[in-house]
Amino acid sequence: MIRIDNLTKIFETPNGPVTAADHINMEVPEGEICVLLGPSGCGKTTTLKMINRIIPSTSGRIYINGEDTTGMDTVELRRNIGYVIQQIGLFPNMTIEENIAIVPKLLGWEASRYKARAKELLDLVALDPGTFLKRYPRELSGGQQQRIGVARALAADPPVMLMDEPFGAIDPINREVIQDEFMKMQQELRKTIMFVSHDIDEAVKMADRIAIFRDGRLVQYDTPDDLLAHPKDDFVESFVGDDRALKRLRLVQVKQVMEPVTTVRPEDSLSTALQRIEQQGYSHAILMVNERQQPIGYVSRSVAQTTSGLCGEHYFGLKTEASPEDDLRKVASLMFTHDTTWLPCTDANGTLVGQVTQRGITHYLGATYHPDALGTLPRQLHKVSA
């Protein structure tokens, strides 16, 4: 856990004092990622660097796991905090192995142990130890170097990590890949992380909490979803962007908006289908499943109205389906691609577990959910479709 208490930094410059951090108060709970976000020059880097005392603070206190760091020995403090600097900063005179093993070495580990650790970390950041251990930094691409920078910071397994735009130098495609890998790692390692970014999408993707800075002040500190749903003022609102509703899509999983669904079987008659369509108030169609509850198609309302026979003889194939773990951004994209307003949801066995509808999504995003609203939401959705 990192707790920051009234942290302030005033730089004395020839043109007078510059307040880079102004009475910052915040707390990052253990095992969470906090992203510091804001326009250039708002004090993100300064705040981060005061935590490992690369920059001395003017006033205020920092507690790590409850302990006041003010009196701690600087070198001791830094060895317990993994630090990934923006410019990567791998030591060019050392091999990748030596770079990763540097902190364990400083801590006096035995050679066999830190070498094994270097190998393990290369695996963790998805680089082949056989290929990379003995190379030098200049023989690696920017993205590979950035991974080594992260591996180096993780080497001594510090409980706390500070990362200053660690994926900034990577092209958008590889950045997504590294972010995903990092998130997978974090799910295992559960570090307490402070992470500087100026990319709102990156923040929304990675953060448990986002801290928005402006002119050295912390303006809003919230979960990504709360931040996007309730920007505190015009500045935050414009900073998170006009498309904030769309950004929220990635934060919501299908299972959060999934609704129960009524189905027919191939051996049911079309009149049964029509009856159920009207009962449920479905506007266009009803889903058809096989005996193992796997969706195999749908029967459209117009066909059921005008034709007689069995559902199994008059159905349309399914275009696509969603899984309860998918995020809504993917679902919305599938809906646009396949020109549909609903998708059946299936589990890993292909068994039907519910449906997701455009109206359901719109409702979820439109709902201003305070804790009590969360509980009522599924029922509300149910009413919409029923």
Binding site: Y83, F91, N93, T95, I102, L106, P137, R152
Partner: protein, 216 residues
């Protein structure tokens, strides 16, 4: 042709003088490296001190060597060493300070600030930073300073023959006093060849000492 005859006829003498010459320069520049590198590192801590030190070192290098020997004779005579080995070594040691201090200072100062910050951030103390990062990265430039000092002072040492320090300058001074162009030219050629060979030798050493990850 005469010069050639002289060279082949006196090869033993020339070799002896060459070894003498080289060992004088080696001892002096070796000592200069042991003093100049720490000074160069130390002055990175304070810009004002750095300016003063570099200024003094450049003044020293502008003193003509003959004048420097002249100044040292009365001073060192008090310990009975007014001429000979000691003043020669001291002169070369002083002349070597500028290239060695300046190159060390520049090289350490030019280490990428990001690397310095990374080193601090992972918890290296100042001595570890120097030993593991800054000095290894500064080696090529420091070695270039040592090479400059050696080549320059192989020339200076030739003049030290006038104060009885020995070395290849003996041939040159004798050539002048005895109006013997053979000795004069032989001495000059030997000094030049020695300078070229020393430079290449040190270049080889520089490449050996440069960390693999930063060598070109």
């Amino acid at each position: 042709m005469d010069t050639f005859d002289f060279l082949t006829g006196n090869i033993d003498l020339i070799l002896k003088l060459t070894v003498e010459h080289l060992s004088l320069v080696a001892v002096a520049v070796g000592l200069a490296t042991l003093t100049g590198v720490p000074i160069g590192i130390a002055i990175t801590q304070n810009e004002r001190v750095a300016r003063v030190v570099l200024y003094l070192a450049s003044i020293i290098i502008t003193i003509p060597s003959i004048a420097l020997f002249g100044i040292m004779i009365p001073i060192l005579s008090t310990i009975g060493q007014g001429i000979g080995y000691l003043p020669a070594v001291i002169a070369v040691l002083l002349y070597s300070q500028l290239p060695i201090i300046r190159n060390t200072y520049t090289a350490i100062n030019n280490v990428n600030p990001a690397l310095r910050e990374a080193a601090r951030g992972i918890g290296m103390n100042p001595v570890q930073r120097l030993r593991m990062v800054e000095i290894p990265l500064a080696i090529p430039v420091i070695m270039a300073g040592v090479r400059t000092a050696v080549v320059m002072n192989i020339g200076v040492m030739a003049i030290a023959a006038y104060i009885g320090a020995g070395g290849l300058g003996v041939l040159i001074s004798r050539g002048i006093t005895q109006s013997d162009p053979r000795q004069l030219i032989a001495g000059a050629i030997a000094v030049s060849i020695l300078a070229v060979i020393a430079d290449y030798g040190l270049l080889w050493l520089q490449k050996r000492l440069t960390p693999k990850g930063i060598s070109a």
